[in-house]
């Protein structure tokens, strides 16, 4: 599903990604952990070209993102993204948030989009909030709407950038629950997270990022119980 080869990314003189190599298989759930500033968000954002790539290759669903012939808007319809700050559209109701992209990008009818939207809201447990505005919802509910909104495009791959970091602790669970469900249904997911419990339980593999590279990758059991590198050990000691 994703192949990354020698990905470099610089902001001006500041090289943030220093040669990332990785593969993510279809239906795989990968959690990305690592200290603040190590480039986790930047890496994730390169996967749907929210950041342009300085050098290296990123191949998503068979398309090389660097290729001029690749239609980036088309790729993005296949790659859902969930942000730390939700980024719901505040001027649209919950159902309108979910319906917008399918209508305008996929050009499906309003009825069809609404039907699909309602089913997705049901799935994230928010059917009754369809006609409210995002500002009327709790953070956890907003994030679940954001997940439904991304799913409405029927993506093949979902990217999550610290989806629970902006939430009050008591709201984290409901969002992780939805993500677990998605994983169970076979969605391919790359999740940047500080929720080690989630990584341990749901991830097929964990990437530990530090200083702009993937320092270590392994199954959660191995990473959490028997980390190979000293830096992974130190990091886990701090967060666990």
């Amino acid at each position: 599903m994703i192949t990354v080869q020698d990905l470099h990314k610089s902001f001006g003189d500041n090289e943030v990604l220093k040669g990332i190599h990785c593969e993510v298989e279809e239906k795989e759930v990968v959690c990305v952990i690592g200290p603040s500033g190590s480039g986790k968000s930047t890496f994730l954002r390169c996967l749907n070209l929210l950041e342009d790539i300085t050098s290296g290759d990123v191949i998503v669903d068979g398309y090389n993102l660097k290729d001029k012939a690749t239609d980036i808007n088309m790729i993005r319809t296949e790659v859902g993204m969930v942000f730390q700050q939700f980024n719901l559209f505040p001027h649209k109701t919950v159902i309108e948030n979910v319906m917008l992209a399918p209508r305008k990008v996929r050009k499906i009818s309003a009825d069809e989009a609404r039907k699909r939207g309602e089913a997705l809201l049901e799935k994230v447990g928010l059917a009754e909030k369809a006609n409210q505005y995002p500002s009327q919802l709790s953070g956890g509910q907003q994030q679940r709407v954001a997940i439904a909104r991304a799913l409405a495009m029927e993506p093949k791959l979902m990217l999550f950038d610290e989806p629970t970091s902006a939430l009050d602790p008591e709201l984290v669970g409901e969002v992780l629950e939805v993500m677990k469900q998605l994983a169970k249904e076979g969605m391919t997911m790359v999740v940047v997270t500080h929720e080690m419990g989630f990584a341990r339980e749901v991830a097929d593999r964990v990437f530990f990022m530090d200083e702009g590279i993937i320092m270590e990758e392994n199954t959660p059991e191995m990473i959490f119980t028997n980390p190979a590198s000293e830096r992974t050990k130190n990091f886990l000691n701090k967060v666990l």
């Binding site: 749907n48 929210l50 808007n73 088309m74 993005r76 319809t77 790659v79 859902g80 993204m81 942000f83 700050q85 980024n87 719901l88 559209f89 505040p90 001027h91 917008l100 992209a101 305008k104 990008v105 505005y133 500002s135 954001a146 909104r149 991304a150 495009m153």
Partner: protein, 216 residues
């Protein structure tokens, strides 16, 4: 001592003045809004050429008085272009160009103030840049533009009174004409002032209503 009853006799002239004041305000501000939207987007454009043109426009207009702009457009521009404009057209052009520059700054500020996560969310769903602007950024920016836009509308409506110097037969022009012929400055200028007050106050109320309607 003051005879406000006589104002009734001059109502037809004042009504003509009011008509031109409203005509020039409405058409001038509509055109100004279009100019403002275009040059406002120029001010946030990555295209250097567009940005520089928009910036020059804004700075020139902001850096010169409306009165000078009006006189220049009506008396100087025709000499350069060899094309005579009637005073009403000139008046509309003045209001459009002048308000356009301020509205450009309002548009720029409002669009800039929208969190960049909104653009990213739109783009990550596969909407292109144009669609994201149209469905996501612009509606939110528009709401934030209403209060400063309302201010600018009121300023521009008041600025139309300066157009009497280029012989636009608007409200102030009529007032001056009547008062100088009938020596009733107090009655006529008070009435003229009231006309402006009523227009602008109604506009204020309307804008407040629109703003409330757009609350989410």
């Amino acid at each position: 001592m003051f005879d406000f009853g006589q104002v009734i006799d001059f109502l037809p002239q004042l009504r003509t003045g009011l008509y031109y004041t409203l005509l020039i305000s409405v058409v001038g501000l509509l055109a100004g809004f279009v100019l403002g939207a275009i040059f406002g987007l120029g001010r946030i454009s990555k295209n250097k050429f567009f940005f520089v043109i928009a910036s020059i426009y804004v700075e020139v207009v902001r850096g010169t008085p409306v009165l000078v702009q009006a006189i220049w457009i009506f008396f100087a521009l025709p000499i350069i272009t060899q094309y005579n404009m009637d005073s009403i057209t000139a008046g509309i052009v003045v209001i459009a160009i002048n308000s356009g520059a301020y509205i450009a700054e309002i548009v720029r500020g409002a669009v800039d103030s929208i969190d960049k996560g909104q653009m990213e969310a739109g783009r990550s769903l596969g909407l292109n840049k144009h669609q994201t602007m149209r469905y996501i950024i612009w509606p939110q920016a528009f709401k934030r533009m209403i209060p400063p836009l309302g201010n600018q509308f009121i300023i521009s409506i008041k600025d139309t009174s300066l157009l009497s110097v280029i012989l636009v037969p608007e409200l102030m022009f009529q007032g001056r004409y009547i008062a100088s012929n009938h020596f009733n400055a107090v009655e006529i200028y008070t009435t003229v002032a009231l006309f402006y007050l009523v227009i602008n106050f109604s506009l204020s109320l309307l804008l407040r209503y629109i703003e409330r309607r757009l609350n989410y």
